[in-house]
Amino acid sequence: MKNLLELMGIEADRIHFSWISSAESTKFVKVVNEITAKVKALGPNQRFVKQAAKVA
């Protein structure tokens, strides 16, 4: 799914998968920080966002 979203033009750094056990709090913090940093660097997403229908 990530690959297909990327093919359609969603930036690679917007979609992340991780596997974190409930015991791995340090990893959780690390991953979340990394992801938010990456997404913030990309700015607000404009793709696959529908503010209002673009129709007649």
């Binding site: 529908k50 503010q51 209002a52 229908a53 129709v55 007649a56």
Partner: protein, 354 residues
């Protein structure tokens, strides 16, 4: 109203002059898949096409159209009250649609303009538009307009009929609206061309060789056609996609949907299709037309029998051939109509022979 001659050198100048009073639409050549679009300043309609891939029905009946809008903002005293969406009904002109598509609009008008109710969206766009048709001198082999109550020079539904000439066009005004358009364009050179047009019309009609057989359908028994044995054979290949209905200039079915976006929302309508299973499904899950056979039968019965009976204006088909050309599995309305018609005429012969 006299026929007007438009010389080649007056053509684009007149079109540009029309822009003072009209938004212009016309066929835009996009390889062979031409479509009718709004023409940008300086852009001339491409009048070398056979016919557009999709019918121009979207000009008055957009595939998706906002009908109503509303506020969902809890702080808005007017929240949840549905209101008419603002619309642009400034005058528009279509330059160069085919006569079959204009006739189709006049058939569809019977659905949207009734004694009891008038559909404001369809009618406002229709009334705002001046339809300038381009007579059809080079029909496709799949065109069967002449047996579908129409023809390559058919005038119904048009305001002006353009006839292509070597050195320009002859323009036949058919309504006041059409007359005004020609004046607005500054085209005023009267021509004595009735015979030229009549000859060209006869020649064009002779070029239509394909037929739809429907003469016995009006008198046919509805329930006998409905119960005919051929529907499995006709419907087997059908994929139940909406290609035939969406490409058809006379299909008008639509769906109404609400779309909410946080503090506001719209009610829009979208083309719908009798080919889709969910078209008729009840909330209980019961579906009166649950099978492909029932849906295919509905489409052809509606076009060729129910409509014929309801309005007595012939079949709900103008012979443009789009469904024939575009059906992915080659279900051909000419073949279906012939089967229905021959069953109907055989039944009539049997009655007459008694």
């Amino acid at each position: 109203m006299k026929v007007i001659k438009i010389d080649k050198n007056q053509w684009s100048q007149g079109l540009e002059q029309l822009r003072n009073a009209f938004r212009l639409f016309g066929p835009v050549g996009n390889g062979k898949a031409s479509s009718i679009q709004e023409l940008a300043p300086g852009q001339a309609p491409d009048l070398t096409f056979a016919n557009t891939r999709l019918s121009p029905k979207n000009l008055v009946f957009p595939q998706s159209e906002v009908m109503l809008n509303y506020s969902l903002d809890p702080d808005d005293p007017e929240r949840n009250i549905l209101k008419e969406a603002p619309k642009d009904y400034a005058p528009r002109a279509v330059i160069g649609m085919r006569p079959c598509d204009a006739k189709a609009l006049s058939l569809v008008k019977m659905n949207f303009d009734t004694d009891q109710y008038q559909d404001p969206y369809w009618l406002n766009l229709y009334n705002a538009t001046t339809f300038v048709g381009l007579a059809c001198d080079a029909p496709a082999s799949t065109c069967f307009c002449t047996t579908a109550g129409c023809g390559p020079y058919h005038e119904e539904g048009l305001d002006v009929l353009l006839v292509s000439q070597k050195d320009g066009y002859l323009a036949k005004p058919l309504t006041d609206k059409g007359d005004q358009l020609l004046k607005a364009a500054g085209w005023s050179q009267a021509a004595d061309a009735d015979k030229v047009i009549a000859d060209a019309k006869a020649a064009a009609e002779a070029r239509i060789v394909s037929k739809v057989e429907s003469d016995s359908l009006r008198a046919a028994d509805t329930m006998a056609l409905y119960g005919a044995p051929f529907w499995e054979d006709i419907s087997f290949a059908c994929l139940n996609c909406g290609t035939c209905t969406f490409s058809c200039p006379t299909c008008w079915c639509f769906d109404i949907q609400d779309e909410a976006y946080r503090k506001k929302g719209v009610r829009i309508r979208n083309w719908d299709s009798c080919m889709f299973p969910i078209f008729t499904v009840h909330t209980t899950g019961h579906n009166p037309r649950d099978t492909k056979l029932q849906r295919v039968r509905q489409r052809f019965m509606h076009k060729l029998k129910y409509f014929v009976d309801k309005y007595d204006q012939g079949i709900m088909c103008v012979g443009c051939g789009r469904c024939v050309r575009q059906c992915p599995v080659n279900i051909d309305i000419r073949r279906v109509s012939a089967m229905m018609n021959s069953m109907a005429s055989a039944a009539q012969c049997a009655v007459g022979g008694k």
